[in-house]
């Protein structure tokens, strides 16, 4: 029993880290620029399929394929921002609807191009580490480590640099930030590039573990949104913890309670936390 729980905790933490990387993108774009990008899951899908294409069709080694995959996702994000998202600043509903439109377009395009048949990559890194009675696939550990590193580096990058200070200033009062000499349009573009690039990275990592479908983004953006709110919008480390908590609760919950309601456990916790801490676990109001 203990092993089962422990195994689910570890698995949940890894899945949760994936939620966390999407949550980080949501928190960054919404917290800093006031734009809701609900379509981040689609950029994740783009990253995943790009990795697949580069690794399986062109035969690039996986680590080499990841980088251009992120860049492709970020480039798509740049276009989406230039064409759509920058007009939805501080307008939650418009952001949401533009996202829905974009999801519809990107998902259908992926269906046209890749069909609905799930695709699977060859094992990138086979084998597992044994931790007592619990087996952990090596690749999952690598994925977890990469995500952890990315989130911590993002946190440090924003907490310790002038760019980060400018970003936080912009988040609190865009006009005052402009009066301090912050090049605000460039900052906004940078945030958008970074968040979609992150989603692309999430997708690239996802591709190494699970099979790909055009609709994969939908689930992850929902979970990412939950994780971001759970951790507190605007809190970078909160998005990681929010994701991990969500993943672990879903994993452990489905041992003791019916698996069919897996998605509900996280939601129940989310609602409970929102009622008592409206700003999320790590958020400040």
């Amino acid at each position: 029993m203990t092993q089962l729980v422990l195994g689910q905790v570890l698995n949940g933490a890894i899945i949760g880290a994936m939620y966390g990387i999407i949550a980080l993108g949501i928190t960054l774009t919404f917290g800093i620029t006031g734009i809701v990008n609900f379509a981040l899951g689609e950029f994740m899908m783009i990253g995943a399929y790009a990795t697949y294409a580069l690794a399986e069709r062109f035969g690039w080694p996986y680590p080499v394929a990841v980088v251009p995959a992120c860049l492709i996702a970020a480039a798509a994000g740049y276009l989406a921002n230039k064409a759509f998202f920058r007009f939805t600043r501080n307008n939650l509903v418009n952001g949401l609807l533009v996202s829905i439109g974009l999801i519809s377009i990107l998902e259908s395009a992926a269906l046209l191009f890749w069909t609905a048949t799930p695709l699977e990559m060859h094992f990138v890194l086979p084998g597992a580490l044994r931790l007592g009675e619990v087996g952990l696939p090596k690749m999952k550990l690598v994925v977890f480590a990469v995500i952890l590193a990315v989130i911590v580096l993002t946190y440090l990058g924003l907490a310790r640099t002038w760019l980060g200070r400018a970003a936080f200033a912009y988040a609190q009062n865009p006009e005052a930030a402009m009066l301090m000499g912050v090049h605000t349009p460039r900052l906004e573009t940078a945030v958008m590039l970074y968040s979609t690039g992150l989603a692309g990275l999430g997708g690239a990592l996802y591709a190494s573990l699970y099979s790909l479908e055009p609709a994969m983004g939908g689930v992850y953006v929902l979970k990412g949104m939950e994780a971001a709110i759970l951790g507190g919008i605007g809190s970078l480390m909160g998005s990681l913890w929010g994701g991990v908590i969500l993943g672990v609760i879903e994993g452990v919950g489905s041992i003791f309670l019916p698996t069919a309601f897996r998605d509900a456990y996280g939601l129940a916790i989310l609602v409970a936390i929102l009622l008592f801490r409206p700003a999320g676990l790590f958020g400040t109001e």
């Binding site: 936080f168 200033a169 609190q172 009066l179 301090m180």
Partner: protein
């Protein structure tokens, strides 16, 4: 140093500024007074680049900056301290001040500037670790001015620094503005508190429904009947 030539400005269809011309010489304190909705704040927003003009030109240090973006004007030392103490509430006082120096190329070495600012506002030194949002109104206004100074302005634009402040704080802010001018800073002050504005300024403009209705030496304006009746309440 700073010059507005027949500036026109619209919000939606409302004509807010109608051919406003004014000039600020180097080292001067110039005040703009006038009733609500006369366009005082808009004038400053136009100068700072937060609002586009629909006609006319803004010249700064001999160059036409009408079409330059806001952050570029800041880099040239044209700095606005906005109305309503728009500080960064979740930053500490120190971070607020550092943010003021964001655009400076030498921003990594700010100890001297910080010392100067703290000397001017000892209260901010006491509260340097506190969050901006937890300061009182008067302290926030001082922080906003201090943050403006951290950018090493050559021309400082102040929008209603006395608004909603206790008399004792208003007096303190007045003293500060004088002290800054004594160091040679050029200041354009927009105020509804005409008594204070005319006392501090060398020259002043009266703005009414979007155009300049009166201008001259502050000491002379104080003597005119219109100003006495409408703004000084004598």
């Amino acid at each position: 140093m700073l010059q507005l030539d027949a500036v026109d400005c619209h919000y939606a269809k409302v004509h807010v500024l109608r051919g406003v011309s004014l000039a600020v010489g180097a080292g001067e304190i110039v005040s703009v007074i006038g009733p609500n909705a006369a366009g005082k704040t808009t004038t400053l927003r136009v100068i700072a680049g937060l609002k586009d003009v629909s006609g006319g030109a803004v010249r700064y240090e001999g160059e036409d900056v009408t079409r330059r973006p806001a952050f570029e004007r800041v880099r040239r030392g044209l700095i606005l301290v906005p109305e309503g103490r728009q500080i960064f509430p979740r930053f500490s006082v120190l971070d607020n001040l550092l943010m003021g120096a964001y655009q400076r190329p030498d921003r990594h070495d700010l100890d001297r500037d910080l010392a100067t600012v703290y000397e001017l506002f000892p209260r901010l030194h006491e509260r340097r670790g506190q969050k901006g949002g937890s300061l009182s109104g008067g302290e926030q206004q001082m922080l906003a001015i201090a943050r403006g100074l951290m950018g090493r302005p050559r021309c400082l634009l102040l929008d209603e620094p006395s608004l909603g402040l206790a008399p004792i704080v208003v007096a303190e802010i007045g003293r500060t503005i004088k002290a800054l001018a004594a160091r040679g800073l050029t200041i354009l002050l927009v105020e509804q508190n005409a008594a204070m504005a005319l006392e501090l300024a060398d020259r002043a403009y009266v703005l009414e429904s979007g155009h300049v209705s009166l201008q001259g030496q502050a000491s002379e304006l104080r003597q005119t009947d219109v100003v006495k009746r409408l703004y000084l309440g004598a």
